[in-house]
């Protein structure tokens, strides 16, 4: 391994321009992937915020006691899909309506609003089918008059989420493939630059795995360096967008680390493919 490491350092020193070109190419292809990831992340975040507003509201018949409502809310809260169920009495509903309407609050003077049980579902259980099934079960309580949950709105939200998910996956995959191809081509240049050395290594009896080792290490190192550079570029881009366009979120440390590992992995795969093809040909 120490020989492989020395070879990599030698190569960086001997052909600094080619090595810098390799790292920069990897950085820019990962930067494009990073920007795309950032857009996908922020769209997902926005959709998740919308999903938080998915709520089932079960209006109760006039005269239902808070005790009955409390017991029903307790039962509903024990459903596996349900995160919380809270009761809103007639008085609370009036107060809420008045506060939501601000300067028009007088409209509700003397009005009677029905009480309700407001049900929040757990994250990941807010799809149209689950919402509908919970709504139907809540409706079975004898004192529940009506259940509202914005059926159409939830369906649209989910369709949008699915489209965004599929488009994100397809585009992400395409970006990743393009990155692997570009990185493979860059590493191929490094392999060609050392083709004489490779042929001599083979002549004196080096095994293919021995020849491959420094190239794999080099691909890995270039992937990590390129990944780091891409991360910095993406961070700068996000800071600029935050300052001049719109407030966005950045990758968590874990995702950033995964991105870095991804860079290293495609550096490794690109190298393995390039050097493997070269070894088969010579």
């Amino acid at each position: 391994m120490s020989r492989a490491l020395r070879d990599v350092l030698d190569d960086f020193r001997r052909t600094p321009l080619l090595s810098a070109l390799g790292v920069t190419t990897i950085a820019f292809s990962l930067f494009a992937l990073g920007l795309f990831g950032l857009v996908a992340l922020n769209i997902r975040q926005a959709l998740e915020k919308l999903e938080d507003r998915v709520e089932i509201r079960a209006f109760v018949a006039p005269g239902t006691t808070p005790e009955d409502m409390g017991q029903a809310a307790g039962d509903v809260a024990s459903f596996p899909e349900v995160q919380s169920a809270r009761i809103v009495t007639s008085e609370m509903a009036l107060k809420r309506a008045q506060s939501e309407l601000g300067e028009f609050r007088d409209v509700f003077e003397g009005a009677v609003l029905p009480g309700s049980i407001d049900v929040q579902l757990k994250p990941g259980r807010r799809d149209p089918a689950t919402v509908k099934s919970v709504a139907e079960r809540v409706k079975r309580f004898s004192f529940v008059d009506d259940v509202r949950y914005g059926e159409e709105w939830i369906e649209k939200l989910y369709r949008l989420r699915n489209i965004a998910g599929i488009a994100g996956l397809a585009l992400g995959f395409a970006f990743a493939i393009v990155s692997v191809i570009i990185i493979g081509a860059t590493i191929r240049m490094a392999v060609l630059a050392r083709s004489k050395e490779i042929s001599i290594m083979r002549l004196v009896g080096a095994t293919d795995s021995y020849i491959r080792r420094p190239f794999l290490l080099e691909g890995f190192a270039k992937g990590v360096l390129g990944g780091l550079l891409a991360l910095v570029l993406t961070w700068i881009a996000q800071t600029m967008i935050n300052r001049y366009v719109i407030e966005t979120i950045f990758f968590t440390a874990r995702v950033a680390l995964l991105g870095l590992l991804f860079g290293a992995l495609i550096g490794l795969i690109g190298s393995a493919v390039s050097v493997g093809r070269h070894l088969r040909r010579v």
Binding site: I200, L203, V204, G205
Partner: protein
């Protein structure tokens, strides 16, 4: 030690390079391989170190068969062979010592062994004082000596030399040939492809002549003498 049994080699684009060759080279032999360009000499040599595999027939070198050898077997076989070319094939950015040591390094020899072996072999080829030089700082003859040193450093049982004097003047040619004779005298077989008929005439070594992919003369087999065709 090296045995060709009814070996043919053809390429999809250029056709037959070697045609039905059977041949044996024994331990400690010195063999000249001669013939016009394109006669199949280089292909024959490449089949010894298994850079090329026969299309039909079998090449067997020190127990390794061209029919069954895997990539790793070929690598191991080459550690027991020394290979020298007309164009030296030295690494330009490494010193002569590093070039010679490279052959030991890539087969995983410990660094404590490498220094001593390199010094010994550089002395043997007469380059003890040039170890720190870069290849471009040496003459053609010296570069070929360095390439021979690299080929010798693993103590090979046979040295395969493809036109080793092709790029050298008469004086350097004599020097390299003398070195190859000394190596042979120490027990290493030498198989040398050459166009230099003068060299062949002056030395009483076994001579194999090729034409159009076939052996047309082998001084070790009197019967073939009758078939000899002048090129």
């Amino acid at each position: 030690m090296i045995r060709f049994t009814r070996v043919s080699k053809s390429y999809p684009r250029t056709g037959t390079a070697v045609n039905d060759v059977s041949l044996q080279v024994n331990k400690g032999e010195f063999v000249f391989l001669t013939g016009a360009s394109g006669a199949g000499k280089s292909t024959l040599l490449k089949m010894i170190y298994m850079e090329e595999r026969p299309t039909t027939g079998e090449v067997r070198v020190a127990g390794t068969s061209s029919v069954t050898a895997k990539a790793n077997d070929v690598a191991k076989l080459r550690r027991k062979l020394g290979i020298v070319f007309q164009d030296f094939r030295l690494l330009e950015h490494r010193t002569i010592e590093q070039n010679v040591g490279f052959a030991l390094e890539v087969i995983g020899a410990p660094s404590t062994v490498i220094g001593g072996k390199v010094a010994r072999v550089l002395t043997q080829v007469g380059l003890a004082a040039k170890g720190r030089a870069l290849p471009r700082e040496l003459s053609g003859g010296e570069q070929q000596r360095a390439a021979i040193a690299r080929a010798l450093v693993n103590d090979p049982f046979a040295l395969i030399a493809d036109e080793p004097t092709g790029n050298l003047d008469d004086r350097a040619t004599r020097g390299i040939f003398q070195l190859l004779r000394e190596i042979n005298a120490q027990g290493t077989s030498v198989i040398m492809a050459t166009h230099n008929l003068e060299l062949i005439r002056r030395n009483e070594f076994r001579t194999i002549e090729m034409a159009r992919g076939q052996i047309v003369f082998d001084s070790a087999e009197p019967a073939s003498t009758a078939e000899r065709r002048t090129p």
